[in-house]
């Protein structure tokens, strides 16, 4: 393996680890209504201090808009150190000790402090050949560049995905297609910009979804609400989701949008959003940002999201993904989105994307070197 393929290998390895252990038949588990605790038998005693979803706090009532609907407006974050898929061997609910360990591992500030305690590299200048005294475990970037949040999900789950396995229920065919994709990407790492991930191309991030999932940083959302529209401003990457509440039917399936076509309605105090007509170029959830290998078939993809205001500082966000072309059955996840007082900053993704030029010209340099039969040091 060349060193520069490590990053891709990591993604592949994570993916493989996820798909290898997925049972072929996964019972679908729809999210329980917010406030309902997990079955007592499934929850270790130690986790009871952190309820699965906060019931309404005493003395707190759901704030409402002028038309009487729950007010979801404000700034929210879904940053978490809890992974999308459940680590192998982990139980559905983590103990307090496991959550503390997860937070310590995932906390970049903790890592920064640990780095500092090990000693900083020599500050002597002018030497352009010396190897750094230490290396980051994550993509060779200092901890300062990351902002994954400090906390595990407060529902005490060991993964965002809920249900018995906590894994993406890929079909055997999907596993093969993902393997084929990895091989395709190995052979065509950067033939042109269209061969790179959607995120590098500033086209789509998992943060906007749907489902809306956390990423490395800037996991901030701002929700605006009127009687007939909910708009979600997504910091990454400057996206706005428009959820129409006017009862109109979905747009034509001939029109495929990156974030699909979202229609919402209220079920009691829960905003339920159904999204279809998602562009297949979005790629696989948890399987890469979407490159020009073998795109998933998203013709039948449907995402159902449920937004419930469960506390002054919490929207319980639940989602179910259906796509029989990729999954053996529906799968669901839950993230308590927390109120934040941090402003949402503009993320004009392509204003200075030097990286794309560097990546493409780097690939050309690799090819030239290979043609000359030279091996770089």
């Amino acid at each position: 393996m060349t060193s520069r393929s490590v990053a891709r290998f990591v993604a592949g390895a994570c993916l493989a680890a996820g798909v290898c252990l997925v049972p072929l038949r996964l019972p679908a588990q729809a999210p329980a209504p917010p406030g309902s605790a997990a079955p007592a038998a499934a929850r270790p005693a130690a986790a009871k201090a952190r309820p699965a979803a906060k019931p309404a706090a005493r003395g707190w009532t759901v704030p409402r808009t002028a038309d009487g609907k729950p007010d979801l407006q404000g700034l929210w974050t879904n940053a978490t150190v809890t992974p999308l898929e459940r680590p192998d061997g982990a139980k559905e609910f983590a103990t307090q000790e496991e959550l503390a360990a997860l937070e310590k591992r995932g906390n970049r500030d903790e890592q920064a402090r640990a780095d500092a305690e090990r000693g900083t590299p020599a500050a002597a200048g002018g030497d352009t050949t010396a190897a750094p005294a230490r290396r980051s475990a994550i993509g060779d970037y200092n901890a300062i560049w990351w902002e994954l949040g400090k906390k595990a999900l407060e529902n005490s789950r060991s993964s965002i995905i809920i249900g018995p396995s906590g894994k993406l229920p890929h079909t055997p065919e999907t596993v093969q297609r993902l393997a084929a994709n990895r091989e395709y990407e190995r052979l065509h790492p950067a033939d042109g910009p269209e061969f790179r991930d959607n995120i590098e191309r500033c086209l789509a991030w998992i943060t906007s979804g749907p489902p809306m999932l956390p990423t490395f940083y800037n996991n901030t959302y701002k929700i605006y609400q009127t009687a007939n529209t909910v708009a979600i401003l997504v910091e990454m990457i400057h996206d706005v989701r428009l959820i129409h509440l006017d009862g109109a039917a979905h747009s034509s399936p001939a029109v495929r949008q990156w974030m699909g076509d979202s229609r919402g309605h209220w079920e009691g105090d829960t905003l339920v959003v159904e999204t279809v007509n998602i562009n297949s170029k979005r790629g696989y959830i948890g399987g890469g940002g979407g490159r020009s290998g073998i795109a998933p078939n998203n013709d039948k993809m449907k995402v159902t999201e449920r937004f419930t205001r469960t506390a002054a500082d919490t929207i319980t966000y639940q989602f179910t993904v259906e796509n029989p072309s990729i999954y053996t059955g529906p799968w669901s996840g839950e993230i308590p989105m927390k109120a934040t007082d941090e402003p949402l900053y503009e993320y004009a993704c392509h204003e200075g994307n030097y990286a794309m030029h560097d990546i493409l010209s780097g690939a050309r340099a690799d090819e030239a070197a290979a043609a000359k039969g030279k091996e770089k040091k």
Binding site: M1, S3, R4, V6, V10, A13, C14, G18, P83, L84, E85, P87, R105, D109, D115, A116, P121, A123, G126, A133, R135, A137, I138, Y141, N142, A143, I144, W145, E147, I160, P189, D197, I199, E200, C202, I206, L213, T215, F216, Y217, N218, E235, G286, G287, G288, E342, Y345, E346, Y347, C349, H350, G352, Y354, D358, I359, S361, G362, A363, A365, K377
Partner: protein, 142 residues
Amino acid sequence: MKHTRASIVAGACLMLAGVPVLAHHAFQAEFDANRPVTLRGTVTKMEWINPHAWIHIDVKEADGKITSWMIEAGTPNTLYRRGFTKDSLAPGSVIVVQGYQAKNGSNHANGRDVTLPDGRTLFMGSSGTGAPGDKPEKKPGG
């Protein structure tokens, strides 16, 4: 290297299972892990742009020749939240950068670590993140 890579894979799987790649772009696609660089230079400009901020520095080589480098930093949004602004590294500031050169051989490098001449590592102080302007309440007594 083999051990390092194994660690990278294990660590990344552990913490980034829900994340498709390792940064806005994959580090290994842009930078060459076999070309580590240590650069002592004077800041000439801070490009405060997404998806990554870039720090421009002039590096004086051993023979006195000045070479300009561009150092890739993090996303400005996150840096700003940590108390780091466009003005935190004013032109004329001297910094030491440890990182990796771009695969294309240009004078671009990622800013793996940024250190001040007195040895203080930028962002990684003993309290909070150590970022300029960072609130020092993160550590008891800090």
